[in-house]
């Protein structure tokens, strides 16, 4: 366990260690896949074939990479919300429900007004998605701040409620008129106007949502560490009683933290409709629509050490894993349940690898004369230890 006490503080070595640390999630992913290889062997599949299919499917071609990015968009958006919630010390596991409500509201608007210019409708729809998510996240916020109802409870319950609302809307008021006539009555809405689709970036399914999400990531970074609002959310998250003493309205900022994190999920829901499916369809479950992004986005944020900017590559990596795993399933024909189990293993390994990253970081800090809290602005510092000797 413990290594030699006296590390030589060789600068190149230290830099290497720092780089090594930041790749920790990737190593953890690889370790999880190695464990997964055992399952593959048990299932009579060749792990090497399987994993090269995974890599190929995620990053192997222009189109594969585009698919990975498409998958990463909702993960990144939900992940950004998670970063905010985490700093405000609230636990939002209602991403699934918030995505659904954001999608419902924006789809409803898109179907109600068919003659608007595309850019205008897209803007309105984004706002509607944000609004829907914000309401579905803000409500647990209000319940927590003013009625002391734990947000884990309320967000879990509200996920279930959102699914039922979606099922009702898609078979009732919002059903595709064609389906309303048909015998099968598939619970789906009509398709959005061509003009309303999010513009594509390159001739793949990759849409402009990626750019928007990346811009938002930078904005969340600025929000959290460069604005008074972010400062307040973090202060309330760390110590409510001190925040109150600092003149901060604690209840309001609890609501804000949940509301903002819900807003991002709502936008993710909108983008799934306007950027990918162009209509809403339900199979009766939340996952059918969200693809589990409400949960996986939390994981992506963790991959990104709950830092909005690192969450960008983290979402892409995680998106690639999900896309690649599906492709692996197709090529080596293993049951898809294996993919779910692997997904779980990766999450567990990555979240555990944080320990090793922290430990090695701490060790480094002890020998470099700076305290890097992972937060801006970075500063040099004088070691007291040196001064004392």
């Amino acid at each position: 366990m413990s290594q030699s006490k006296k590390l030589t503080s060789h600068p190149a070595k230290k830099r290497f260690a720092a780089v090594f640390d930041s790749f920790m999630p990737i190593f953890a992913t690889i370790a999880a896949l190695l464990v997964g290889a055992i399952f593959l062997l048990l299932l009579d599949a060749n792990p090497i074939t399987a994993y090269s299919a995974l890599l190929e499917g995620a990053f192997g071609s222009f189109n594969a990479f585009a698919e990975t990015l498409v998958k990463a968009i909702p993960l990144l958006l939900v992940g950004l919300g998670t970063c905010i919630a985490y700093r405000g010390s609230v636990t939002n596991i209602g991403g699934e429900g918030q995505m659904i409500v954001g999608a419902l509201l924006s789809t409803w608007i898109g179907l109600s007004f068919t003659n608007l210019p595309g850019w205008l409708m897209i803007t309105i729809a984004m706002l509607a998605g944000i609004l829907g998510g914000a309401v579905w996240g803000g409500l647990p916020g209000v319940l927590k701040a003013y009625f002391n109802v734990n947000e884990i409870l309320s967000t879990v319950m509200m996920n279930a409620i959102a699914v039922q609302i979606m099922n009702y809307m898609l078979r009732g008021p919002m059903i595709d008129p064609v389906q309303a006539e048909a015998a099968s009555q598939i619970p789906q809405t009509a398709r959005l106007e061509m003009a309303y689709r999010l513009p594509r970036l390159v001739p793949t399914r990759l849409h402009i949502g990626l750019l928007i999400a990346i811009i938002l990531a930078v904005m969340v970074y600025v929000l959290l560490w460069r604005t008074t609002l972010g400062y307040r959310i973090r202060a309330v998250g760390q110590n409510q009683s001190a925040a109150k003493y600092g003149g901060i309205d604690v209840k309001k900022h609890i609501v804000l933290a949940l509301l903002l994190s819900g807003a991002f999920a709502g936008l993710a829901g909108m983008m799934q409709v306007y950027g990918v499916n162009y209509r809403m369809i339900t199979d009766g479950s939340a996952t059918g629509f969200t693809g589990n992004a409400g949960f996986n986005g939390i994981v992506a944020a963790l991959f990104g050490q709950l830092h909005p900017l690192i969450t960008i590559p983290a979402s892409i990596l995680f998106g690639g894993l999900l896309v690649g795993a599906n492709s692996m399933q197709r090529i080596v024909q293993v049951p898809s349940a294996l993919i779910t189990a692997l997904n779980g293993l990766v999450v567990v390994f990555v979240v555990s690898s944080e320990y090793f990253r922290r430990r090695s970081q701490r060790k480094r800090i002890a020998f470099i004369e700076s305290e890097d809290e992972g937060k801006p602005p970075k500063e040099r510092s004088e070691g007291l230890g040196e001064a004392a000797s």
């Binding site: 884990i152 879990v156 409620i161 609302i165 049951p335 349940a337």
Partner: protein, 310 residues
């Protein structure tokens, strides 16, 4: 139509459905409560339930032994709990996320094993109803309360037992102290990690039994994803019950009975959309908690990893 709901048949039906539906919640939520009281939030309950449900079912299918089935479920639950413990206690991983990881793993694994080892569902002979002598003969009440299967009785006995362990034993004292102020407990030589390992493992075992109660006692089948979110509801019920066994009992019964009620609403043809009926238990649970005046404060060290510094 609404007044049809106030007949004896319906009320008896709701109570007895409620008791059955509450059974898995009780196991899972009481297990989760122990973990949380010591400071560990486990969101992986759903995955543990699914694995427990599968393993118990599989063992009955192959051996027809209910005892072995429960032992196997206990074993699997303990393993999952220990793994969760290792990750969150030893490696100090963020608890919420680790739990989601174990949820996905348990769900995927149970599905995979089912597909590979069984494939096609069959009915099994699980725990059958036991009529408690005398009590079981009381009209109405006997039927509701005293003609259930063993795992149902045990679930309800678990509630006072959990209360007793938590409040009257040295172990319970350690659990409460560790969840509230691990530094203080540590400074008195309480092994914080060990206590947490114990509660998380116990939580895993109880979640696994919760799953088994579905597959080998209440339903006698296994189906992929058969828990359908019950593990998450169980976690929510711990908050509803303010981390107290009897509070959890109240929450589990409320949720389950409203769920039974919504089925009756549909059966009696009361004209509301079926989706609204399905939503009812979720809405009412939030509402009741919102309007209730006394809400406990959670254990202060909940979700906080403990590490002695320096």
């Amino acid at each position: 139509m609404i007044k049809d709901l106030f007949t004896a048949t319906v009320i008896i039906g709701i109570i007895s459905s409620g008791i059955r539906l509450a059974t898995p919640y009780l196991y899972a939520a009481i297990g989760e409560m122990f973990g949380q009281r010591s400071g560990v939030l486990n969101l992986g309950v759903e995955g543990q339930m699914l694995l427990g449900a599968f393993v118990a079912y599989f063992v009955v299918l192959r051996t027809e032994s209910l005892l072995l089935a429960i032992l196997a479920a206990i074993g699997v639950g303990a393993l999952m709990g220990l793994a969760m413990g290792f990750v969150t206690i030893q490696l100090q991983a963020t608890q919420g996320i680790a739990g989601i990881g174990f949820y996905l793993f348990g769900m995927g694994m149970s599905n995979l094993l089912f597909q590979k080892l069984i494939g096609v569902v069959e009915n099994i002979d699980g725990f059958s109803a036991i009529k408690i002598p005398l009590l079981g003969d009381i009209p109405v009440i006997g039927e509701i309360f005293f003609r259930q299967n063993l795992l149902v009785y045990l679930a309800f006995l678990l509630v006072p037992l959990a209360w007793f362990v938590l409040n009257k034993t040295t172990l319970g004292l350690k659990i409460r102290a560790v969840g509230e102020n691990p530094e203080a407990a540590d400074s008195l030589g309480v092994n914080v990690a060990l206590v947490r390992y114990f509660t998380v493992t116990l939580g895993g075992i109880l979640s696994s039994i919760a799953g088994a109660s579905l597959s080998v006692a209440l339903l006698n089948v296994f189906q992929q994803n058969m828990t359908a979110g019950q593990g998450f509801i169980a976690v929510a019920l711990v908050y509803f019950g303010s981390w107290r066994p009897f509070g959890i009992l109240a929450g589990a019964l409320l949720f389950s009975m409203v769920n039974a009620l919504q089925l009756w609403i549909q059966v009696l043809g009361i004209p509301i959309p079926s989706e609204l009926a399905v939503m009812l238990p979720y809405i009412l649970t939030i509402l009741v908690l919102t309007l209730s005046l006394t809400k406990g404060k959670g254990p202060s060290a909940l979700t906080k990893a403990f590490e002695r510094e320096g």
